[in-house]
């Protein structure tokens, strides 16, 4: 008998763990980098293939005799797990290929190599876990191994703080999930998912589980206001790990949410959609506005991850609302949009982080204000980075547009919902989604325009060199995936069919049967989109235009200094900077939301002081939530600190008082 997918995937996990041990054994040897990343590449590719096959096959399960002796560890690969395994392992394969080149620049490979395969193993295990205990152990394993990777460059400024905040938020998230599973386990305390699935909790308990799942998985995915760790921790790790954390690990969190809310929790209640939609909309808009305020390349990408998570949660909220009302078809459309966006985001965000890593390797800089003109010195990286920027900005015919288009189509079906709360919440979420998409385009025009176009703003940027072949090929493959998923979205929709049947009991109409591979979410007279033809038409019309014009028009080209209205200034400092590019948006949106203030200190005539422009903005999540918590804990700690400096007499009397009160308590008790 052929081994089932779950067995094969478990073998892959065992392989990852063995590689982690091997990496420790190979510490300090030449070639360790190549062996470990080569190994993870091969294992990830194999796991991707298995996941792809498992997507259409029946669920397979197994119980391993590890963990708690009386339950063992349950593992299961069903359609939902298989889809997420595909996303995670594809991301892992791309990151491994990239790291074959990028990893050579690592100063201390011993701090990265053992944890990289372990991190992949942890993520794979979460997706396969079929009991609460295994899920939580795998979840914590994933958190800790990624924490170790965040701390790999612990000596760099800010990284230790990033790691500290990350581990705090991760613990908080696991705590919330622990409580959620505690409620799901019911009075008899069942751990395994099969029993949990069979017993639906009451509406109050289910609402509590939804809230806890939002807190637990949302803190890992980066939902506002639980996002504060993400823009600190994701950029702190080496770039291929940043790509995994941002592009892939956030998807594991979304898997957790979908698994708990759509699968384990039983039938939905209509109001569940409202908080999910609201949080998704806020996360999407605020995330991208944050991104526009930043000037650190990797931090911008991390904030943009928050935005995309928001988009996914908007679609998930819609799916919940439709599902609760028994509208299986629209629910399938919304959930397909969410999961397709999960896939797409994993591709282009990994690619963007790889590009940021390439820029970092070539220039040593992450600050946009120090970059510029890289399109001349890193032409290949520039092309693939541009594709990713287009995809994340939802430009047709790339993949980001296809999934956002489907989300809009799902929103347009919302008049079928009977409840007033939803009728009002859905258009509002739609507006926020459109706003986020437009702002994302602004954000990535800014990123590409400042980093890759214009003139170099520093010596490092002027002397940049193109990166190695492994990195380029990893990025090029992802760019091709972005294009392919954009022009053939029907493949993804049909591939997600089994997941839809499992979770909402209906699937979208089969798309590959449509003529010219068009996608038709509901019916043709309602809406349709054909990425292939749009791509073909654009290529054809651009070629026709270029051909005709080169035939008819003058072909002469003269190179001259820039015109710039007659006052060209050769100093690169006269270019628009990232901060100045964001100024109009900062004024429109940031003035109220972030209390962004600009002050200009203009010296009086005759005063030789330089003029100064200062920009200040405040992060409301820190100010309203985290700073008060920090202050309270700090205040209590300060009070408690007094106990540290007492005399021996005072300590003895404290011990005496404690003893007396405990004895009194015992006496009263009995």
């Amino acid at each position: 008998m052929a081994p089932t997918p779950v067995i094969l995937e478990l073998w892959a996990v065992a392989g990852f763990l063995a590689l982690a041990l091997l990496a420790i054994a190979l510490h300090g040897r030449d070639g360790a980098t190549r062996i470990v990343y080569g190994g993870t590449l091969a294992l990830s590719l194999a796991a991707t293939a298995v996941a792809g096959l498992a997507l259409g096959a029946a669920a397979s399960a197994t119980v391993l005799p590890v963990g708690l002796p009386w339950i063992g560890a349950h593992f299961r690969v069903d359609a939902l797990s298989a889809f997420f395994l595909l996303v995670i392992d594809l991301g892992g394969a791309a990151a491994s290929l990239y790291a074959l080149g990028y990893g050579r620049h690592e100063h201390e490979p011993g701090r990265v190599l053992p944890f990289f395969p372990a991190f992949l193993a942890g993520m794979n295990l979460v997706l396969m876990a079929d009991d609460a205990f295994a899920f939580l152990v795998a979840w914590e394993f994933m958190s800790l191994s990624s924490w170790a990777l965040v701390m790999a460059h612990h000596a760099e400024a800010g990284n230790a703080r990033a790691g500290y905040i990350y581990i705090l938020m991760a613990s908080f998230g696991t705590f919330a999930l622990l409580l959620a599973f505690g409620l799901l386990a019911g009075p008899e305390g069942h751990y395994d998912f099969a029993t949990i699935r069979a017993t639906a909790p009451g509406p109050v308990l289910a609402g509590a589980v939804l809230g806890l799942a939002l807190l637990g998985t949302g803190s890992k995915a980066g939902l506002v206001p639980l996002h504060v760790w993400l823009p600190l921790a994701h950029p702190a790790a080496p770039s291929h790990v940043s790509a995994l954390m941002s592009g892939v690990m956030t998807k594991v969190a979304i898997y957790g949410f979908v698994r708990i809310v759509f699968d384990l929790l039983g039938p939905s209640i209509w109001w569940w959609g409202v908080p999910v939609l609201a949080i998704g909309g806020i996360t999407a808009t605020v995330g991208v506005l944050y991104a526009l305020m930043q000037d650190d390349l990797k931090r911008i990408l991390a904030y943009s991850t928050i935005e995309n998570i928001g988009i996914v949660f908007i679609a998930l909220g819609l799916a919940l609302a439709f599902r609760a009302n028994g509208l299986a078809g629209p629910a399938a459309l919304a959930l397909t949009a969410a999961l397709f966006h999960v896939f797409n985001h994993a591709q282009f965000k990994s690619l963007l982080f790889f590009g940021a890593g390439a820029v970092l390797t070539a220039t040593g800089e992450r600050q946009l204000e120090k970059l510029g003109g890289l399109i001349h010195r890193m032409p290949k990286t520039a092309v693939v980075f541009l594709v990713a920027c287009g995809a994340i900005s939802a430009l047709p015919p790339l993949n980001g547009f296809a999934s956002e288009w489907m989300a809009f189509q799902a929103i347009l079906l919302s008049p079928e919902l009977p409840q007033w709360g939803l009728k009002l919440a859905v258009p509002a979420a739609g507006t926020l989604l459109a706003l986020a998409a437009a702002l994302a385009a602004a954000c990535f025009v800014r990123v590409f325009g400042v980093a890759f176009l214009g003139r170099p703003r520093s010596k490092a940027a002027a002397e940049a060199r193109e990166v190695d072949g492994f990195s380029i090929s990893a990025m090029a493959i992802l760019a091709l995936v972005c294009l392919a998923a954009g022009i053939l979205p029907g493949l993804a929709i049909d591939g997600l069919g089994p997941v839809m049947e499992q979770l909402v009991g209906a699937r979208m109409p089969r798309q590959l049967d449509q003529s010219w591979l068009t996608i038709v979410p509901v019916m043709e007279s309602r809406s349709s989109y054909n990425g292939l033809l749009v791509f073909g038409f654009i290529v054809a019309s651009a070629s026709i235009a270029a051909f005709v014009i080169h035939r008819l028009a003058s072909g002469t080209i003269r190179r001259a200094p820039p015109w710039d209205c007659g006052f060209p200034n050769t100093d690169p400092a006269t270019q628009y900077t990232a901060a100045s590019f964001a100024q109009p948006i900062r004024r429109v949106f940031g003035a109220s939301l972030f209390r962004a203030r600009e002050t200009v200190d203009m010296p009086a005539p005759g005063d030789p002081r330089p003029a100064r422009h200062t920009l200040a903005w405040r992060d409301f999540a820190w100010e309203l939530i985290y700073a008060p918590i920090g202050r309270t804990i700090g205040g209590i700690a300060d009070r408690a600190n007094l106990l540290q400096f007492l005399t021996i007499r005072s300590y003895l009397s404290l011990v005496f008082v404690a003893l007396i009160s405990l004895l009194l308590l015992l006496a009263i008790w009995s």
């Binding site: 047709p396 507006t431 028009a553």
Partner: protein, 317 residues
């Protein structure tokens, strides 16, 4: 799909390309006459395009390949979008390739590359134009989506051909929400096409430029292509408004040549009315400060939102 369908589709693509400079010339003429000037001839935009084509390209020393590719990409995205909006006939062969949301996103692609082109040479004016353009777009896009929602709620589709046919049916009639959507769409169209009061297409003052600042470094054939794309975009928005709100005379699927000719004649008439109204509007208002634009587009967004909410309350308002 028959040869006739392909010819109709091809005619539509050629028609929008041929009429776009004429519409711009007409708007300029109207504005000039309203200012009691003679104004340039109607075919001046064609002459300008030809003149630009014949001139050599003066390329900034550090311009990259992207700077040279962008004009063609911008033009192609705009042309494809314009070819998908029904002008004289509905149900064209490829009309199902993209719905209204995709058409708007195609224009977004064009804008993305235009904004990048503005930043390529690394001059301060280019960056200024790009940053203002993306700010305006980030306000216009949500408003556009709300308008699409309103329309889709009324007609139950985002497919332009279906929309036009549904608007003709007697069940729709005059509605408050449609009126709100029309006003909002006009406001968005003015902003998207860099017209007064948001931007001034004829400005020579760099600090007030948005669109012109981005294309400041372009010359010769590149500039010609970008100008043509801009003219196409204006035509697209007028056609879009005409197709949704005045769909009379659009030849249905399988119509004969006669109906198509009538449709084409009516289409030219609709363009003329649109151009006339635009010229009159532009001469009667003053350009506003850049930071007043959010209020202008905020009105469009609120109208769109109001239209949607009205329809959620009752499908017949």
């Amino acid at each position: 799909m028959t040869l006739g369908d392909l010819i109709t589709q091809g005619t539509q693509m050629a028609l929008v390309l041929a009429l776009a400079p004429l519409l711009t010339g007409f708007v300029r003429k109207v504005k000039a006459r309203l200012l009691r000037r003679q104004g340039p001839s109607l075919i001046q935009p064609y002459r300008d395009l030809l003149r630009l084509m014949k001139k050599e390209v003066v390329l900034a020393e550090n311009a990259s390949w992207l700077f040279r590719v962008c004009p063609y990409l911008i033009f192609a995205a705009t042309w494809v979008a314009a070819a998908l909006v029904p002008t004289f006939a509905t149900g064209l062969t490829f009309s199902w390739t993209a719905d209204l949301i995709a058409i708007i996103a195609l224009l977004g692609s064009a804008r993305f590359f235009l904004a990048l082109a503005g930043m390529d040479v690394g001059t301060s004016f280019g960056g200024l134009g790009s940053s203002r353009e993306v700010m305006i777009a980030s306000l216009a896009e949500p408003a556009t989506i709300m308008i699409v929602f309103t329309l889709a709620l009324v007609v139950g589709s985002t497919q332009l051909s279906t929309m036009a046919n549904a608007m003709l049916s007697p069940t729709i009639g005059l509605r408050v929400s449609l009126g709100l959507a029309l006003i909002a769409l006009v406001l968005v169209a003015i902003a998207e096409n860099s017209r007064i009061p948001v931007d001034n297409p004829a400005t020579h003052l760099e600090l007030t430029m948005v669109h012109e600042a981005m294309v400041l470094e372009y010359s010769g054939r590149h500039l010609a292509v970008i100008e043509l794309a801009g003219q196409l975009k204006l035509l697209l928005y007028v056609s879009l408004i005409a197709c949704i709100f005045t769909p009379w005379g659009l030849a249905p699927t399988g119509a004969g040549l006669e109906e198509k000719l009538v449709g084409a004649g009516l289409y030219v008439g609709k363009l003329a009315v649109g151009g006339l109204l635009l010229g009159m509007f532009e001469t009667s208002v003053a350009k506003m400060r850049v930071f007043r634009v959010p209020e202008f587009l905020g009105v469009a967004l609120m109208l769109g939102l109001l239209g949607t909410l009205l329809l959620f309350v009752s499908r017949s308002i």
